[in-house]
Amino acid sequence: MKILVCLSHVPDTTSKINFTPDSKEFDSTGVQFVINPNDEFGLTKAIFLKEKFSGNVTVLNVGDSSTEPTLRKALAIGADDAIRINHIPKDSYSVAYQIAEVVKQNNYNVIICGRESIDYNSGLVPGMLAELLNLPFINGCIGFEPEGNNATLIREIDGGKETLNSSMPLVIGGQKGLVDENDLKIPNMRGIMTARSKPLNVLEAIDVNSKTTSISFNKPKTKAACKFVDADKVQELIVLLHNEAKVI
C-alpha cells in the first residue's frame, strides 16, 4: 500500500501567538514548531497500515527549508521518505494545487491529511485536494479499514458517527480517533538515527495564483477580570447570568 501523509508544520499548542509590528505576519520568534496534531493521528495510522499491509509511507510538506525538522521527525517516527515542496504557503488553494501535482505523478492508494491545521484553521486543503484529483473525500475521519480496492470509513458527525464505504484511492481529513491518543509514537534514538539517512526530496513549486490575500492580523480584546461568586451563594451567579450576561 502506497500512502501519502500531508503534514503541516505548526506552532506548538502552548505557544503564545504574536505578530510582527506591522501586524502583517506571524512572528515566529521563540516559537517551537510541531507536526499539526490532526496530521499526527494520520501519520500513526499510516504506519499501522504499512505494518499490516506492507508498503510505503511518504510524508509531504509544503513550505520552506525551516519545515524540514518536522519532516525528519516524521521519518524518525516511521515514515519511509519525505517530500518538501519548496513554496511558502499563501492560501489553501495554492497548497492543495501543489500537492495535487505530486499525487498525479505517483500512484498513492490513500492520501491522509489532518482535517485542519491548528494555525490557520481553514480546513480546506484536504477537500480541495480530493476535488482537484476527482477522488472521494472523507472528512473528520475516525476510522479507516481498507479491503482490496475499497475501504470502510467512520466519520464524526454532529452528535454521532457515520459509517461509509468508498472506493480507493481516496483523500482523508483525519483527526483524533483515527488512532488512539496512546498510540501516537514518540521517535526513539534508533528512529532519529535512521531518519538522517532516509530520502528527503525537495521539489520546486509550480507557479499558481493564490485566491485570497492576507491583509493583517489582530488579537482578541483582553477579557475583563473574572467576577467571583461565593460558593454558598450560587443564586447570585444565576442573577448575574440572567441580568448582566443575559444568557439564561
Binding site: E131, T212, I238
Partner: protein, 316 residues
C-alpha cells in the same frame, strides 16, 4: 449577481445554523445592494421559514444525503443563478462540502468567518486563526466569493421577506456520489454540541463517570448540551464526541460552564469563542479563572447540586 446561501436540513427540518446563514446572507446582500437566494436540499415543506430570515427566493430540491452530491447540486445552482457570493454555515457537513464546492465553482473561499465584511471593495472579511488566539483579515482575489461562517458566531436575526419558492428536480450522476453512507449512529433527543447555545462541560474534577448525573441534570435544566475535557474522553469516562478543545470539537456557545476543568491552553483554544464562560473549580489557581467571566471557587460536589436546585426554582 445575488447572494446564494446553502441551508442544511436534518430529517426534513432546518438546523438553527441554517437560519443564521440566511440572516448573514441577507445582510451581506443589503451591503451589496442585491437579493438573497436560498438553496435547500431535503426540506419537508418548511421552505417558508427561510423568508423570515431574509431570503427573497427559495430554491428547494431533494437528493440523498451525500456531501459530494450536495456540492454538485450547489455547483449546478451556482451556474444558473450566477451569484457574486455563496454563504454556508461551517457545520460538520458544511466543512466537507465547502472545499469541494470551491474547486468545482473555481471560487475564492474564506472559512472560519465571524463577521460581515469590513469592506466590500476591496472585499475583506475577518476569520478566526490560531485556534481562537487571533483574527486574520483576508481579501478575496476572485469574482465568485465563497464565505463559510462559524455556527453561532454572528447570531440569528429576523428580517422577514416575501419569498418566491421554486421547487425543482435535479438529476445527479451516479459518479457524483463518490461515497456511500452505510449507517448513521446519532444519540436521539440530545442537544447537539454544534447547535447548542449553552454547553455544560466537566473534567477530571468529577473523579469518575458515575458522577455525571448532576452534570446531565444541570444540562437538562438549562436545555444545554454536555461536553467534557480531553483527559475525560481519553480515559473513556465520556465519549470522544463530547470532547471540546483543540483536538476535539471547537464550539462558540452563548454560555459555556466548565466544571472541574483546570483550563489548559488546548482546552481554552476550543471553547474561548463562547460569549460568556463560567468556571467552577475547587482550585483557586486554576488557569480557567483567568479566561472566565464568572467563577465559583468550590467543590463541584457541593456547588452543582445547590446550583441545580436554585436553577430549577429560577426556571419555575
Amino acid at each position: 449577481m445575488s447572494v446564494l446561501v446553502f441551508t442544511e436540513t436534518w430529517n426534513g427540518k432546518f438546523k438553527k445554523s441554517s437560519y443564521e446563514a440566511v440572516a448573514y446572507a441577507s445582510e451581506l446582500a443589503q451591503l451589496l445592494n442585491t437579493s438573497t437566494t436560498a438553496l435547500v436540499i431535503g426540506c419537508d415543506n418548511c421552505e417558508d421559514n427561510l423568508a423570515k430570515y431574509g431570503a427573497n427566493k427559495i430554491i428547494s430540491t431533494n437528493a440523498k444525503y451525500n456531501n459530494h452530491a450536495f456540492a454538485s447540486i450547489i455547483e449546478k445552482i451556482t451556474k444558473e443563478e450566477d451569484p457574486s457570493c455563496i454563504v454556508l454555515s461551517q457545520t460538520v457537513n458544511g466543512k466537507s462540502i465547502l472545499p469541494l464546492l470551491a474547486i468545482k465553482t473555481n471560487a475564492s473561499v474564506i472559512s472560519n468567518v465571524v463577521e460581515l465584511p469590513s469592506s466590500t471593495s476591496p472585499f475583506i472579511v475577518k476569520k478566526k486563526v490560531f485556534s481562537n488566539k487571533a483574527f486574520e483579515n483576508l481579501q478575496f482575489n476572485g469574482d465568485l466569493k465563497l464565505i463559510a461562517i462559524i455556527p453561532n458566531s454572528v447570531g440569528v436575526r429576523e428580517n422577514p421577506q416575501s419569498a418566491k419558492i421554486q421547487k425543482i428536480d435535479i438529476s445527479i450522476d451516479d459518479k457524483d456520489y463518490k461515497t456511500q453512507s452505510l449507517n448513521i449512529d446519532k444519540a436521539a433527543g440530545k442537544v447537539s454540541l454544534a447547535d447548542a447555545e449553552i454547553v455544560v462541560s466537566a473534567g477530571r474534577g468529577l473523579k469518575g463517570p458515575e458522577n455525571w448525573k448532576m452534570i446531565e441534570d444541570l444540562a437538562d435544566i438549562l436545555g444545554a448540551a454536555t461536553a467534557c475535557s480531553k483527559p475525560v474522553s481519553d480515559v473513556g469516562w465520556r465519549p470522544h464526541s463530547e470532547h471540546v478543545g483543540q483536538t476535539g470539537i471547537a464550539i462558540s456557545s452563548d454560555l459555556y460552564i466548565a466544571i472541574g476543568i483546570s483550563g489548559a491552553i488546548q482546552h481554552l483554544a476550543g471553547v474561548s469563542s463562547s460569549k460568556v464562560m463560567v468556571a467552577i473549580n475547587i482550585d483557586a489557581e486554576a488557569p480557567f479563572f483567568k479566561a472566565a467571566d464568572y467563577g465559583i471557587i468550590g467543590d463541584a460536589f457541593d456547588v452543582i447540586p445547590k446550583l441545580n436546585q436554585a436553577l430549577k426554582k429560577f426556571k419555575n
